[in-house]
């Protein structure tokens, strides 16, 4: 074997050795530090994508003004957040669940089964749900809940029998509305917003239009009638949006006749592209929602695991900061972004300070 060849082989051997050494030591470091992973020092939050923008505004300001690290805020939806919240107590579980609806009794039971017993419910304010269309589109300026019911119901009672919804244009539902094809973009069933929409618009419209009474007269019991009221047509006139409001906005951008369901905060950020319609004669604004005049709104919450207070640094401070007047008050950054401030904020502040559980 020639000398050069031998040297070449030796070099290769050395290279191989050094590579294996590096790989082995890197693995060793990873293993050692895995066992020595320090206690978590940041607050972990997950839940509703409606609450996410508010929570991230608060988290950002919290990190800037306190010595604690900025909390980590995940989205994923109210139900997902609450499910993870109820997984148990400990550093590997989240400390706070954001939710655009109140916690259900079934979820409280799951929580209790996993050892999450003391839950603090914090109402941060109200969120309005608005109906908006292209700013230069047809004149959708005033809606009643019954217009939406008549336009979107799967079946309507006609002469004592349920028939497939015959309304093809908005004018069919209400002669005052523009005679354009119905194209509604509503939140998908995954969203907490859908529940509010069904309850406060569709069901309300069903009652207002007399359809509910007609169904009861046809011999349906109350539950069946309610279910029939809230069944949304599936012939393409109503489109479920499972993504975010940005997707609804993109759909409306592409369809001049489209009407979308948005959160007030999203609309406030896009007033140059969207025009909003009144509902029941009331225009949505932080003022009309706070006073309760605007019918379609819902409270927003976050839930704190009491067992984590004192264990996770900054958890209580974050909660108190969130509901403080300078953040959640009527002139604070959250109201500025579109959150309707809670008129009973001081009661909420006292609740958080005293760590009152549900």
């Amino acid at each position: 074997m020639s000398a050069t060849l031998r040297r070449l082989i030796l070099v290769r051997q050395e290279q191989l050795m050094s590579f294996t050494k590096i790989a082995a030591s890197a693995l060793a470091i990873a293993a050692v530090s895995a066992t020595a992973a320090a206690a978590r020092d940041n607050v972990q939050i997950a839940g509703s994508s409606t609450v996410l923008p508010y929570a991230s505004i608060v988290a950002e300001a919290f990190g800037e003004n306190f010595d604690f690290p900025t909390p980590v805020v995940e989205s994923g939806g109210s139900s997902t957040g609450l499910r993870r919240f109820c997984e148990g107590v400990g550093e590997n579980t989240i400390d706070i669940a954001n939710s655009s609806r109140s916690i259900r009794s079934s979820e409280i039971e799951t929580c209790a089964a996993n050892g999450v017993t003391d839950i603090i419910e914090v109402r941060i304010g109200y969120d309005g749900i608005v109906f908006a269309s292209q700013i230069d589109g047809p004149a959708f300026t005033a809606f009643e809940p019954k217009d939406w019911y008549l336009a979107l119901a799967a079946e309507l009672p006609v002469d004592g029998a349920m028939v497939a919804n015959p309304n093809m244009t908005w004018a069919d539902a209400n002669a005052d509305l523009p005679a354009v094809e119905i194209a509604a973009f509503i939140p998908g069933t995954r969203h907490g917003t859908r529940e509010v929409f069904e309850e406060k618009v569709i069901l309300q419209g069903c009652e207002d239009s007399g359809a509910m009474a007609a169904m009861t007269a046809m011999g349906m019991d109350d539950d069946a009638a309610e279910e029939a009221c809230m069944a949304i047509r599936a012939d393409g006139k109503s489109v479920d949006i499972d993504g975010d409001y940005t997707e609804t906005l993109a759909r409306i951008d592409a369809n001049a006749n489209g009407i979308g369901v948005f959160g007030l905060a999203f609309y406030e950020n896009n007033t140059d592209k969207l025009k909003v319609a009144t509902m029941g004669g009331v225009a949505p604004s932080t003022a009309t929602i706070a006073s309760g005049e605007y019918p379609v709104s819902r409270p927003l919450f976050f839930y704190i695991k009491k067992a984590h207070i004192g264990v996770i640094p900054g958890l209580k401070e974050y909660a108190e900061f969130f509901v403080s007047n300078e953040i959640a008050g009527p002139t604070g950054p959250l109201a500025n972004y579109g959150l309707v401030s809670d008129p009973e904020l001081s009661a909420v502040q006292a609740m958080v300070a005293n760590e009152e559980t549900m």
Binding site: Q13, E64, P69, T70, N92, I135, E268, P333
Partner: protein
């Protein structure tokens, strides 16, 4: 070698033919070939067109995110507001929150405007303050707490302009849209134009977009990719350190040492199947194994890296086995012939010759992992994270975001300024992907041996 079924003379039979003039059958065959060429060119053109459209849309939307509008003016750091006790003690001064700093910035701005002769009497104070980013107060507070001795002085500061003002200089906001926009008024735009004329405001390259952390929906102008780039880097490090030794060891054993029996066949089929499993499945696995069972922290790059390792391993094993297979058996036989052991023949001869292929496979696997979002969704990395993870190795356990996650998150924000930033983040991601693939191509060109 090959069967030539259409040997001239046997097919034509008695019919006379000349190679100088094309008969009907030849013309048909030539036409078929020409048609196929057209189809091929159409297919290529479709691909290229799609790529060009994608690039045009991303570049036209995203290039502007690398530039940002800055405002520079003097801010009087009033001692009464910032340090009421006069001790210059940062602990006491930290009682003054960012809300206490905002009026100082507004005052500074007003003075700077009146000194330049820009009249702002008709603009309300709140609108005037909104010309400056909401991040400004926090920046100023950080600076003052870090340098308490500056309290009482008047210093020149550079702040970001509000996203809407910035949008005006990028053409996203116009006087017309400002009329209808509840977040900006035409008066603010007029002031901004006057400020540019007075050299108080300028639009230029913004490193903050690449190095800064994410920001909330109220201040798109200060949102950056720093945490996401760092998080992606840490994850890629974990993936590289784990997949390369494990993947190469597995492939060498399977290719060179393992007996060929049903069991190894089964393993082989399963590896190919794993490569096709949707990535979200690995996320579910990661949540169950690494977080719930092993107790690793949520939102941490180590978990992300482990999950992506599982996802990348099959790709790397397949690539490595292919490149080991392409080393001719004569090399192994020659090594064995001069007395090398099987292991020596593999490690001294086969592996070095297969290395370029292995590295190419690894880099392509890494590039695939870099662009992955779905598995990260379940392990808490799709999150609003503002704190930079620490240095290695502790940083592996700190919360972090990732590049594709940042794109996904920004597309969901309501402020239109985030559309531009999402496209900007895609550009950064694409640059990383192109660089990695270029390295792969270079390695192949440089070291590949053909037999």
């Amino acid at each position: 070698m090959t069967d030539l079924s259409a040997v001239p003379g046997t097919a034509g039979g008695a019919k006379k033919s000349s190679i100088l003039e094309a008969d009907a059958r030849t013309r048909r065959r030539n036409a078929a070939e020409a048609r196929f060429k057209v189809y091929g060119m159409l297919a290529v053109a479709t691909g290229v067109l799609a790529l060009i459209l994608l690039l045009i849309s991303i570049l036209s939307n995203g290039l502007s995110s690398f530039r940002q509008t800055f405002v520079t003016f003097d801010v009087p750091l009033s001692a009464e507001t910032l340090d009421p006790n006069g001790n210059r003690n940062p602990d006491e001064m930290s009682k003054v929150s960012t809300f206490g700093y905002s009026p100082l910035i507004l005052n500074g701005l007003k003075e700077a405007l009146s000194a330049r002769g820009i009249s702002v009497d008709e603009v309300p104070d709140a609108d005037l303050a909104n010309i400056i980013s909401r991040a400004a107060a926090a920046d100023l507070r950080d600076f003052v707490l870090a340098n308490p001795q500056v309290v009482g002085e008047t210093l020149s500061f550079e702040f970001l302009a509000n996203g809407r003002i910035d949008g005006f200089f990028k053409g996203r906001v116009t006087y017309e849209s400002a009329e209808r926009d509840s977040n900006v008024t035409p008066d603010q735009l007029r002031v901004a134009e006057a400020m540019v004329a007075a050299d108080l405001m300028e639009t230029r390259f913004n490193w903050g977009f690449i190095t800064g952390p994410d920001a909330s929906g109220q201040r798109p102008e200060s949102a950056g990719l720093g945490v996401a780039i760092l998080g992606s880097f840490y994850m890629m490090l974990v993936v590289l350190v784990l997949t390369l030794p494990i993947g190469v060891a597995a492939s060498i054993y399977l290719e060179e040492f393992a007996p060929k029996n049903r069991f190894t066949d089964l393993i082989e089929v399963n590896i190919s199947n794993l490569a096709a499993v949707p990535s979200i499945v690995f996320g579910i696995l990661g949540l169950a194994v690494f977080i719930n069972f092993a107790g690793l922290p949520q939102s941490a790059p180590i978990v992300g890296g482990l999950v992506l390792t599982l996802m990348t391993l099959p790709t790397i094993i397949i690539a490595t086995r292919a490149s080991l297979k392409s080393v001719p058996p004569s090399i192994r036989q020659a090594a064995l012939g001069v007395g090398a052991s099987k292991m020596q023949s593999v490690f001294h001869h086969v592996l070095p010759l297969a290395a370029p292929g292995i590295l190419t496979g690894t880099i392509i696997g890494l590039a695939q992992a870099l662009g992955e979002t779905a598995p990260l969704l379940l392990i808490g990395m799709v999150a609003f994270v503002r704190e930079y993870p620490e240095g290695l190795p502790q940083g592996l356990f700190d919360p972090a975001s990732a590049l594709p996650v940042q794109v996904y998150q920004w597309t969901q924000r309501s402020d239109p300024a985030f559309v531009e930033r999402a496209s900007g983040a895609i550009i950064v991601l694409l640059v990383f992907l192109v660089l990695m693939n270029a390295v792969a191509v270079l390695l192949r060109r440089r070291f590949e041996r053909r037999w």
